[in-house]
């Protein structure tokens, strides 16, 4: 049994690593949420990824892109867990649908929810590429490293995702009661006008 007093003092590298890791937690949570679609599962995933990153800190090169490195860990964790528990997928999907529908944004009651729904209709690899580049602030090269694929592949996935998303929003290509087709896109355009008006005015 180890004596309490024998604890090694934390090294300055570890402290710095930890500080940077803490800053990334909100981003890891957001990326996990887009992958799982379920807040609880997303936080479990983000916590696992955070611990994996902490345990692997010796292999991280200080000063390189820690955000991309942790996103890669989180993504690998997500897919390896998914392979293990594929039988759960139907249940997870149902939970995700309940959660996504329940989420409410008072500022944009229609637009955001519609976008969430539309995102779910995208193939997984297109969705993650679009999120990384379109929302996560990653360059194509960084997203390619995170997804372990070629830069050209990321570019084409993002481009296909954008087209498909727009088509879905214009067509209303998902089940939703009380909404005419095309309303989603109109809501999003209206919202964008309002936001850009705020910025300019």
């Amino acid at each position: 049994m180890s004596a309490r007093g024998a604890a090694k003092p934390p090294s300055s590298d570890d402290e710095r690593f930890k500080r940077e890791l803490v800053v990334l937690i909100p981003h890891l949570r957001a990326f996990a949420r887009t992958l799982t679609g379920d807040p609880t599962a997303a936080d479990d995933l983000a916590q696992d990824a955070m611990m994996k990153a902490w345990d692997a800190r010796a292999s991280y090169q200080m000063g390189t892109n820690m955000k991309a490195w942790t996103f890669m860990i989180l993504r690998n964790q997500f897919y390896s867990e998914k392979r293990r528990s594929w039988r759960q997928s139907q249940l997870d999907q149902e939970a995700a649908e309940r959660t996504l529908v329940a989420v409410d944004d008072p500022e944009a009651p229609v637009a955001l929810d519609e976008l969430r729904q539309a995102l779910k209709t995208l193939p997984e690899e297109q969705r993650e590429a679009l999120i990384l580049v379109g929302a996560g602030g990653f360059a194509y090269e960084e997203a390619a490293a995170i997804c372990n694929c070629a830069v050209g592949t990321v570019k084409s996935r993002v481009s296909r995702a954008r087209k498909a998303l727009q088509a879905t929003l214009e067509r209303g290509g998902y089940a939703r009661d009380g909404q005419a087709a095309g309303d989603a896109m109109r809501a999003i355009l209206g919202e964008a006008d309002r936001l850009s008006g705020q910025r300019q005015g």
Partner: protein, 56 residues
């Protein structure tokens, strides 16, 4: 920010729509980024620190 007129209104419209979707996409992501981080995350990291001390 007017585009060249020969590109046509359809292309202009498509660009506008993609731009709007991009804005919403970032909004969707940032919404989660801006949520307060549950205490659990920091607790887990703190415990990891203790574990390292014990293992040394």
């Amino acid at each position: 920010m007017r585009r060249k007129p020969d590109e046509g209104p359809a292309l202009e419209e498509a660009r506008l729509r993609q731009q709007a979707i991009g804005v919403k996409l970032r909004h969707l992501f940032d919404e989660v980024v801006n949520e307060p981080v549950p205490d659990e995350f920091l607790d887990i990291l703190r415990r990891a620190d203790d574990r390292r001390g014990d293992g040394a």
